[in-house]
Amino acid sequence: MSETPLVHLDNIVLRFGDKTVLDGIDLKVFSKDRLVILGQSGSGKSTTLRLILGILKPTSGVVRYRHLEVQRLSRSKLNLLRSRIGMVYQYSALISSMTVRENLALPIEELRGSSRKEIDALIEQNLAIVGMSGTEENMPSELSGGMRKRVSLARALMMEPELILFDEPSAGLDPVISSVIDELIIRLTEKTNATSVIVTHEMESAFRIATRMTMLYQGKIIEDAPPDRFRTSENPVVRQFVTGTTVGPIMETSAHADPPK
């Protein structure tokens, strides 16, 4: 009997007006996967993460989390589901008016109501995991981009999620910090047994992190394979994307773009 996927995007179509962002994609995320979603800017990678979280609803198709249909869940059940998923945003999305401690305490204070002592211990533990001990009283504006991303990752870990979503984890970071973040993602997912979905278009980072890679192009999945097979893919679009050459089938202007925010 085949394994039940943790997340299943079943024949998802997503349109914004007359613009088709996702055109019938079928994607399964299995437990303990480190799935990297690749694609050009505006190809619907981040949109896919928002579909998993139930922030966006597909035009047609079903998003399943285990046996649950995400878009059919009531508000309270959807919130309960979201508390089992951690999300690390491209620009960290830390609450700018709160200290690092308050940012980390937020989900657990609001959703679990644990004691102050337990929360403090968890904050200390998660900040140590991401190498950010001693920054509890700092404001997000006092931290660098890489530090903010690590704090954002620590916040995502507070609820001990079974699935962590990363939206462009290495975007805007220098190569060294980018490698630190990549190694952190690998170490964390191995240590916590969490499943992760990582959206990126940084090839080096993708090959370092992934146990499976999938590529979106013009609203469809054109490749889904382990990193070694992905690297040697026969698909000309994938090959061009991996090598980064300007000669190939990828069009500079794509009709498929991310929705306006």
Binding site: R82, Y89, M159
Partner: protein, 219 residues
């Protein structure tokens, strides 16, 4: 969160409400006093000012001050959080943004509006009392006596009801404008301006409608 919002909305707004109301009460008493003096009825000034402020100007003035000071801040804050994905991050954590971001602001502004409205009335009466004493030879004791005699419970209740309602309106408009911001920094600026303009216009519009209805009902 609620305490922080209450502190900023309430305590932080007291100086401005005090100052504006004091000077408006003073000016109103002075101008009406000079007109009424011609007919020898300047003793009506305390009655006029007290009824005008408890029923009408106290809540209205406080509403306008809070729309400009607090409503704008709510919109700018929530708008900035919206464009920097902070609101989405809160939602993604499974925390309802309405409960976490909107509810404390609505509770703070609608519960503190009546308190600030009372402060506005007192400040206006103090201003009116001082100018009546200085310019109209109306001693404070007589002024206070006239105020106490002329004020009836329904005036105070209507004023307080209006204040709560205006607070709710300003809070709802400001939060809605903030959470629906699109277009980055420019969008936040536009939403903040819209929030103040819509709040003030709506408060004045509802006040007029309310006055027409109450006048019709009470004859």
């Amino acid at each position: 969160m609620l305490f922080a919002q209450t502190d900023r909305t309430g305590i932080g707004s007291i100086p401005l409400v005090l100052m504006v109301s004091f000077f408006l009460g003073l000016t109103m008493a002075l101008l009406t006093g000079y007109q009424l003096e011609k007919f020898g009825t300047e003793r009506l000034v305390p009655t006029l000012i007290s009824i005008a402020f408890t029923r009408e100007l106290g809540p209205l003035l406080t509403g306008i001050v809070l729309a400009a000071r607090i409503g704008a801040a709510y919109t700018a804050e929530l708008g900035t959080m919206q464009v920097s994905e902070e609101v989405e991050a809160i939602e993604a954590m499974g925390i309802g943004p309405l409960r976490f971001l909107v509810a404390p602001r609505l509770v703070a502004i609608s519960s503190l509006m009546p308190c600030l409205s009372v402060i506005s009335c007192i400040a206006a009466l103090v201003g009116a009392c001082l100018i009546s004493w200085a310019a109209l030879n109306l001693v404070p004791a007589a002024f206070i006596d006239a105020v106490v005699t002329s004020l009836i419970v329904s005036d105070i209740v209507i004023g307080l009801f209006k204040a709560v309602f205006f607070g709710l309106l300003i809070g709802l408009i400001a939060c809605y404008q903030g959470l629906t911001v699109t277009g980055g920094a420019e969008g936040v600026g536009k939403a903040t301006t819209d929030s103040v303009v819509i709040s003030i216009t709506t408060v004045i519009g509802f006040d007029t409608l309310f006055n027409i209805m109450v006048t019709k009902i009470t004859g």
